[in-house]
């Protein structure tokens, strides 16, 4: 309970700080919204030009895109401390101070910053979901809503795990490795389109190495009541988001190993 109280204090102070500059934060949110919604224009133009691809409709792609955007936005909201961990904590030696406090370092890093601009991407995800619903004539039963929430939860866990791994790498590189952005931002990009469009080795990468397909493609198929054309059995589809939680658990284990090995950069 105490941890939750602490997080809520972190949250309130972070949001208050940002609300002191409403104009800037509104503009940043608008920018995040625009840069992510513009992808939809590209998808729309492709379908206008070429028509349906392998039986996938415009609305299907919107559903993939909307779901993964929401997951990523929420994870981004919670994981800023891990994202900038290398440059803001390890290189400066500030991580020592976190370790001295009688609360877990992970908790303090979650509380480091809750950026309101992320709401721009969240809004984009919800809007794209709306487009998908309209385009496909989807009806959201309680079971479908539950499945969607479960998918988003798995996605948040996966993207959060990726951020934790990125932060863990900083124990050895003493820098924030932007290369991890390839699998976070790039993963969101990859998850927009169905797995069956990709080459075989790339599908395997998205299932077994960075399991983004498990938190976007497979569960969304279950929402659409479709079978997987690449041959994944139907019973697995709604269970797939659990892989996101497994990924998070492994990431946190690696993180704890990194914390034990941590030696300060000194002052």
């Amino acid at each position: 309970m105490n941890a939750l109280y602490l997080l809520s204090r972190y949250f309130i102070s972070s949001v208050r700080g940002q609300l002191l500059y409403p104009g800037v934060n509104l503009l940043l949110g608008l920018g995040a919204f625009l840069t992510s919604i513009i992808e939809l224009v590209g998808i729309w133009a492709l379908f206008q030009r070429f028509g349906n691809v392998q039986g996938w409709r415009y609305g299907d792609i919107c559903l993939f895109f909307g779901m993964v955007s929401i997951s990523f936005a929420l994870a981004d909201f919670l994981s800023r401390g891990f994202d900038v961990f290398g440059s803001e904590f390890v290189r400066t030696g500030d991580f020592d101070r976190l370790l001295l406090r009688p609360r877990s370092a992970a908790l303090q890093l979650i509380g480091y910053d809750f950026r309101l601009k992320v709401l721009g991407r969240l809004l984009q995800g919800l809007l794209v979901l709306g487009v998908a619903t309209h385009s496909l004539g989807l009806i959201w039963h309680p079971a479908t809503v539950g499945l969607a929430l479960w998918t988003i939860a798995g996605g948040v866990a996966l993207f959060f795990g990726l951020m934790v791994l990125q932060a863990t790498l900083a124990f050895w590189t003493v820098e924030s490795l932007e290369i991890v952005n390839v699998v976070t931002y790039g993963g969101v990009q990859a998850a927009q389109f169905p797995l069956s469009l990709y080459a075989h080795w790339f599908r395997n990468f998205l299932i077994f190495v960075v399991p983004i397909a498990c938190i976007a493609y497979f569960p969304v198929l279950a929402i659409l009541h479709k079978s997987d054309p690449t041959g994944m059995p139907d019973w697995f589809l709604p269970l797939a988001p659990a892989v996101g939680f497994v990924f998070l658990a492994v990431s946190l284990a690696v993180w704890r190993f990194g914390v034990r090995k941590y030696t300060s950069t000194g002052t």
Partner: protein, 278 residues
């Protein structure tokens, strides 16, 4: 003051910054990796759409679209994604006061420095991307996904000319972003908004030729087309030689317009520039 003399500080500024920017090797590798991922994804998606299309005779072949995609990724840093970070830092620290004290034209000074910043980062990335997409992919028997040669010699020559004007136009737009930074005293606002425009209207998101046909005239005429799409169309040969000259003419026209806007704007902003602190 002799005219030959007045050119030297700008050349020196360009050379100095160019050499400094070439030092960032890790950034070049990181950029290259990112662009491989993005390029590879796009190529796979385009291939899927082309192979399943029911429509025939589109504006570009798959091979042309793929070449466009790799080339666009290779020239990524020649596009105006943000203002010059040195100008932003100068606004924060007050160092643009020193720039005002130099016996040179501030617009020209920032222009050549931004040009060096963009071209020096593009050079290693473009070389790596060419190696990967034009040499390694065919060696791996992935010829269908490879970056192809230009359409013919005449198109290749016109592409190089158009590439030069793409750089001029992109730097001229970067100067407008710099102007916004000086006027608003922060780079955060404009640097979040500009990429949305650039990614869509330059053709980086999707080759402008693949947008609906009724949009084509407007898409080609707007200034952002010259920051990627026009040189790309010349390279892959979807513009004939007359079309290529018209495209380059548009690039020159928009460059002059943006430079005139930037110069006028900078004069006004600098006239009311206030330095704080001492």
């Amino acid at each position: 003051m002799a005219r030959a003399l007045s050119c030297r500080p700008y050349l020196a500024a360009f050379a100095a910054r160019f050499r400094v920017m070439l030092q960032y090797r890790a950034a070049a590798w990181a950029g290259f990796t990112t662009q491989c991922w993005w390029g590879g994804l796009k190529v796979m998606v385009y291939a899927a759409f082309y192979h399943h299309t029911t429509q025939v005779g589109g504006p570009m072949t798959l091979a042309q679209t793929i070449t466009y995609t790799w080339l666009a990724q290779a020239l990524f840093t020649l596009q105006p994604w943000s203002g010059d970070p040195d100008v932003a830092a100068g606004v924060r620290t007050g160092a643009i006061g020193y720039d005002r004290l130099r016996p040179i034209d501030t617009y020209h000074w920032w222009f050549v420095r931004a040009a060096a910043w963009m071209t020096a980062r593009a050079l290693p990335r473009a070389a790596l991307m060419a190696l990967a997409a034009a040499v390694v992919l065919p060696l791996l028997h992935l010829d269908a996904w490879a970056w192809r040669m230009p359409a013919d010699a005449a198109h290749a020559a016109l592409f190089l000319l158009s590439l030069v004007w793409m750089i001029v136009l992109s730097v001229a737009f970067t100067m407008l972003l710099n102007l916004c930074i000086v006027a608003t005293l922060t780079d955060r606002g404009i640097n979040t908004l500009a990429p949305a425009l650039v990614i869509l209207f330059t053709g980086n998101l999707l080759p402008l030729g693949l947008l609906p046909d009724w949009l084509q005239p407007a898409m080609l005429a707007q200034p952002f087309a010259g920051m990627l799409d026009i040189p790309m169309r010349i390279y892959i040969g979807t513009l004939d030689l007359t079309g290529a000259w018209i495209g380059i003419g548009l690039q020159v026209f928009w460059s002059l317009v943006l430079i005139a806007l930037g110069r006028a704007g900078l004069r006004r902003v600098m006239a009311r520039l206030e330095m704080q602190g001492g």
